[in-house]
């Protein structure tokens, strides 16, 4: 039998210590055929190693081919990607087949971030030549890649014929705490938010480049949620740290709040 003690302090899962795609927030989580939508891809980067980003969507036309025609409509390569990259995607008009009332289909928007030169898929994409079967199912590609310096993530976007008012929406988030200018090592900060919840079931997930959050996630209740962030216990000098809170709706839709503040040693 295993007894797990609930000790206060940062959870390991909330510390970003390797390259990771933290979120891919579509401008609208629900779209119709032929529509374009933007995607903001958030990267967690613990160091300054150059990173390339490949973002694509591929609706299967067969086991080996995407419905999207031409390389430009299938994927976008962002070289030397920064913390946030915004790309545009378009839903193929060929998907404009009649859907029954309330029926919907998931579309996957894939994001692959790699340290430059590490991922053959991105290198091929830079030349405009990528096998469609890989875009359809990129997971086997990971079998040959290392854990470190590589991150693959998938975000669902829903295809439907519903009107704009009926569609899913991203949560609208505003911070209701005062962002600290600096935090001493060993201290904690309570991050509270007000969430305008268009859909049911929104959960907040915290991440940071140092220290960590006391809980991996917290559920939004009556439009409010709070997460406690802990600064590292030990620190020499001072350094900036990046903090993200990703708001994910169970029904689809997401939002990201992020901020940078300085953490200083206790005697500073």
């Amino acid at each position: 039998m295993v007894l797990v003690a609930c000790m206060p302090g940062p959870q390991r899962e909330t510390l970003v210590d390797d390259l990771v795609v933290l979120a891919a927030v579509p401008s609208s989580p629900e779209v119709d055929a032929g529509e374009s939508f933007g995607v903001d891809v958030y990267l967690g980067r613990p160091d300054a190693t150059p990173v390339d980003l490949l973002v694509w969507s591929c609706f299967p036309a067969s086991d080996e081919a995407c419905l999207e025609e031409g390389a430009e409509s299938r994927f976008v390569v962002v070289e030397d990607a920064q913390e946030v990259s915004s790309v545009e995607r378009t839903v193929p008009i060929e998907l404009a087949f009649p859907l029954d009332a309330g029926e919907e289909l998931p579309l996957f928007v894939w994001s692959m971030a790699c340290e430059t030169g590490l991922c053959p898929l991105i290198e091929e994409a830079k030349t405009g030549q990528v096998e469609e079967s890989i875009l359809l199912n990129p997971i086997p590609e990971l079998q040959e890649l290392p854990f470190d310096g590589v991150s693959l993530a998938a975000q669902r976007v829903w295809l439907s014929a519903r009107s704009a008012e009926e569609r899913r929406k991203n949560p609208v988030v505003s911070a209701s705490f005062e962002v600290p200018a600096g935090v001493s090592a060993g201290e904690s900060v309570m991050l509270s938010f007000e969430v305008e919840d268009h859909m049911e079931g929104v959960e907040a997930f915290g991440y940071s480049l140092s220290g960590g959050f006391g809980e991996v996630s917290a559920r939004v209740f009556e439009g409010e949620v709070a997460l406690e962030w802990f600064a590292p216990e030990e620190l020499e000098g001072s350094e900036p740290t990046r903090v993200w809170v990703v708001f994910q709706s169970e029904e689809g839709g997401a939002a990201v709040w992020s901020e940078t503040w300085t953490v200083a040693a206790k005697n500073n």
């Binding site: 899962e13 390797d18 997971i139 669902r156 996630s217």
Partner: protein, 850 residues
């Protein structure tokens, strides 16, 4: 073994007691009105070896209290031996020996047995060694197992000597005069003439006709009734309760010891899952007197669900077994309950750090006996207050079991045996009290079973056995408050069997093995797949016939078994399983054993029913088993058995592995075959297993080794891969030594290869669920670290006037070795984190018996 010289140096001082106890009036204690007790059997004990070497003898006078049936109920030293280096040893040996004496009770004028007290002088005479005249062994003619605790008589004219056979059937007579003697065994008509001549030892094997035993209907002697029908399997390793109850690592549990035998893989997390010769736990089974039982261990394999004292022996049949057993691909363990009415009432209470057990058996008259036993864990009572914090409450593992039994010996020497047993295990997470303590997740198993068996000897050595075993059983699972799953079969089994041993011609066995009832299931746990619910009447008759033929030094066992199963949507089978077993005596103590055969197993109900995700029309899976080996016995002390085995598995049901993880146990992480069910799976198992066993007067030890390879192919287009329970090397050494004065020390050393598993080579991030999803590498291409453990057990027995106290300390994993049992990963699968078995774990227990 040197036989100490003992003779009745009878002081002849018979104190003579009448009535129920020592509080009786003195005037009733009239020796003149009573006939004194008569000593009728005095089993041998060892003469202290050092004393013998030095020629030291001794005399010990002991006071012996006998009850009205002549049983020795108390022995005290009335006059110790002369003071010397061995006086304590002589005292202990004398008391120990006299406790095993058998007496005809003292009788009053009316001829009724009455309690009595005598003084007995025990003489250890070292000046002359006793001469071994006859040595022999009593055996069951069919199973070849030794028959212990039978009285053996050697007669010559008016002179009669008697001894009681040891538990392994061996017996010896010393100091017989030269000439013609006749050996007989209690209850047997057979007379064996033996010539005793000076300077030589006569060796005898006496095959006891079990059906004829049991004519003693009075007296305190053990009333042996018709034994359960023996099996005729090629490889059958039988462990008696007395033999193994003190072995380390098992906590006195006789069934757990089976896991030390060759052919048995080490079960993960000590769950007690049967991994026999590279097959799955679902392919093997536990039986009770030939009837399948659903579970045999409480949570975590802590202890068996029936009290060990209810059982006489545990038989392990790893493969090539008799047609008596069917519907399983792998091997089996048959728990065999006692068939002997107890000589006297006996009870005990035992407690250890996690459970308490009580057992009591009583002889009622000449023909009836009852027993009752129960066990309750109290880990929950200790842990619940610690674990509960108001928000989330845990009901720690809680289990109990209960058994009640009635045995009746009929006028026609038959045995009617009714055995009720139940078991219940549960583990729950409860929600906050202020929200009604709703069950958030739970797992539990329970059953209530009644087994009624009637065994009857018939004419011309034939015997008949009828067994009905049935009762509800349930396996329950709840998850996250809104998921529920259960399996609730009610499938009683009925067995009717006629049997004749092969002692006067061919042996025969004919039987009907019927399983009939209702199987119900529900799987509605969203995290594990789609909802399924089903119910079906199941009728599965099996017919079998077997003949045992003796031809020169060889014994051939030819068997044929046919099975079929009907269910809601159709019929599986019929399937026919032919089996052949062969034993050939090659030379003195050496024997070849071999067997080939087909063993079929039906799909599960959920795999068949169309109302769920089942596929009607699935066929029975089957294994083609073969095994060949040698047994060699070196004297009384050493035996070696080596068996090679090869199995092909066909028609295995593949598919939908992800759905039932909560019932199949670890290790089972993935990747899963999520396709529809089909008879697509095949498998191959081969290996060699060896058992070296040493039986010395005070020492029992065995070394078992299994080297095997097991692989599977789930679908025709898949690659062959290592089976998830494949363990190429399993080594176990167990030993126990009796140091005298109640001290016993034992140790077990285990080594086994780690299980294969499929490594996670990367992961991707599902941003919707915000969970990392593993990307698997080549299937079964990694292996857990090897397992190593040393266990130690120390027993100390204290004998008091009316009861015996036994204490033990059982230390598991003495070296505190870290053993990874199941692989786990960090949240992003980047690092492996094995779930480890117990660290050093001492368990202390007490047992009071009277």
């Amino acid at each position: 073994m040197f036989k100490f010289c003992s003779f009745l140096g009878l002081l002849g001082l018979f104190l003579g007691l009448a009535g129920p106890g020592p509080a009786l009036a003195q005037e009733e204690r009239s020796a003149e009105t009573l006939s004194p007790p008569q000593l009728i059997a005095q089993p041998a004990v060892s003469y202290p070896e050092a004393a013998l070497r030095e020629g030291v003898g001794a005399q010990v006078v002991v006071q012996v209290d006998l009850d009205a049936e002549g049983r020795v109920i108390a022995v005290q030293v009335a006059e110790p031996p002369e003071s010397g280096p061995y006086s304590t040893v002589f005292e202990a040996s004398a008391v120990q020996a006299v406790y095993r004496f058998q007496f005809e009770p003292a009788r009053n004028e009316a001829g009724e047995g009455v309690p009595s007290r005598i003084l007995y002088r025990y003489v250890f005479a070292a000046e002359r060694q006793a001469l071994l005249a006859i040595t022999g062994v009593l055996k069951d003619p069919v199973s070849e197992q030794g028959l212990g605790e039978r009285q053996v008589f050697a007669s010559r004219g008016e002179q009669t000597e008697s001894v009681v056979s040891e538990f392994d059937g061996s017996f010896s007579f010393f100091d017989l005069e030269s000439g013609e003697w006749v050996l007989t065994v209690e209850g047997q008509e057979a007379r064996v003439p033996v010539t005793v001549s000076s300077g030589s030892v006569s060796e005898v094997e006496f095959y006891v006709d079990q059906a004829a035993v049991g004519r003693q209907e009075t007296g305190f002697e053990e009333l042996v009734v018709e034994a359960r029908l023996p099996t005729t399997s090629v490889t059958e390793r039988v462990l008696s309760r007395e033999e193994i109850s003190f072995l380390p690592g098992a906590g006195g549990d006789v069934v757990k010891v089976v896991q030390n035998l060759p052919g048995v893989g080490r079960s993960p997390l000590g769950t007690g899952n049967l991994i026999i010769r590279g097959t799955s736990p679902e392919d093997s089974g536990y039986f009770l007197d030939g009837g399948n039982i659903p579970v045999v261990f409480h949570f975590g394999g802590l202890t068996t669900v029936v009290a060990s004292d209810t059982l006489s022996e545990v038989a392990f049949l790893p493969g090539s077994f008799s047609v008596r057993y069917g519907r399983i691909l792998g091997g089996l363990v048959d728990l065999r309950s006692t068939t002997v009415l107890p000589a006297a009432s006996r009870s005990y209470v035992s407690v250890d750090i996690y459970q308490a057990t009580a057992f009591s058996e009583h002889r009622i008259g000449d023909r009836n006996a009852v027993s009752i036993a129960g066990r309750r864990s109290y880990a929950d009572a200790v842990l619940n207050p610690i674990l509960n914090d108001g928000n989330r409450r845990i009901q720690a593992p809680r289990y109990y079991d209960f058994q009640a039994r009635w045995m009746h010996k009929t006028d026609s020497n038959g045995l009617l045996d009714a055995f009720f047993f139940l078991s219940d295990d549960s583990f729950r997470f409860l929600g906050p009290e202020d929200e009604g303590s709703i069950v958030q997740s739970a797992f539990g198993t329970s059953f209530q079973k009644l087994r009624v068996q009637f065994t009857q000897p018939m004419e011309k050595d034939w015997r008949f056995e009828a067994t009905v075993l049935g009762g509800p059983q349930s396996k329950e699972f709840q998850f996250d408050g809104d998921g529920e799953a259960y399996e609730r079969p009610f499938l009683p089994t009925t067995r009717l069997e006629f049997f004749r041993p092969d002692k006067n011609g061919p042996g025969w066995r004919f039987g009907l093995d019927l399983l009939a009832g209702v199987d119900r299931y529900l799987y509605d746990v969203p995290n594990f797949g789609t909802r399924e619910e089903g119910e079906s009447v199941i009728i599965a008759p099996g017919l079998y016939a077997e003949s045992t033929l003796n031809w020169g030094p060889s014994q051939w066992v030819l068997g044929l078994r046919g099975d079929a199963m009907s269910y809601e949507d159709g019929l599986v089978g019929p399937v026919v399983d032919p089996r052949l077993g062969l034993k050939v005596d090659l030379w003195e103590g050496g024997r070849f054993i071999g067997g080939v055969g087909k063993h079929s197993q039906f799909p599960l109900t959920r795999q068949l029913l169309s109302e769920g995700e089942g596929v009607p029309g699935l066929e029975a899976a089957y294994s083609l088993q073969s095994s060949f080996g040698l047994e060699q016995v070196f004297g009384d002390a050493l035996s070696i058995e080596t068996v090679g085995f090869f199995q092909r598995l066909n028609n295995l049901v593949s598919g939908r592995e992800e759905t039932f993880r909560f019932f199949t146990g670890p290790p089972d992480f993935g990747p899963f075959d999520t396709g529809a069910y089909a008879n697509d799976g095949t498998g191959l198992v081969c290996g060699v297993e060896t058992l070296i066993r040493m039986d010395l007067p005070n020492t029992v030890a065995f070394l078992s080794a299994t080297f095997s390879h097991s692989e599977r192919q789930d679908r025709p287009d898949d690659d062959r891969e290592l089976f998830r329970y494949d363990q190429p090397v399993v080594l176990t050494a167990v030993g126990s030594h009796d140091f005298g004065n109640g001290w016993r020390l034992g140790s077990r050393v285990r080594f086994s290869s780690g299980y294969p598993y499929t490594p996670v080579v990367n992961s991707f991030y599902d941003l919707q669920t915000r969970e990392f999803v593993p990307v698997f590498g080549e299937r079964s291409s990694a292996r857990l670290p090897n397992f190593f453990s040393v266990d130690l057990r120390i027993d100390k027995e204290y004998e008091f006037q009316r009861w015996v106290l036994t204490t033990y300390l059982d230390i598991q994993n003495l070296t505190n070795t870290t053993n990874a049992e199941v692989i786990a990963w960090t949240y992003d699968y980047e690092q492996e984190e094995g779930i480890e078995s117990n660290p050093l774990f001492p368990a202390f227990g007490l047992k009071g018996e009277w």
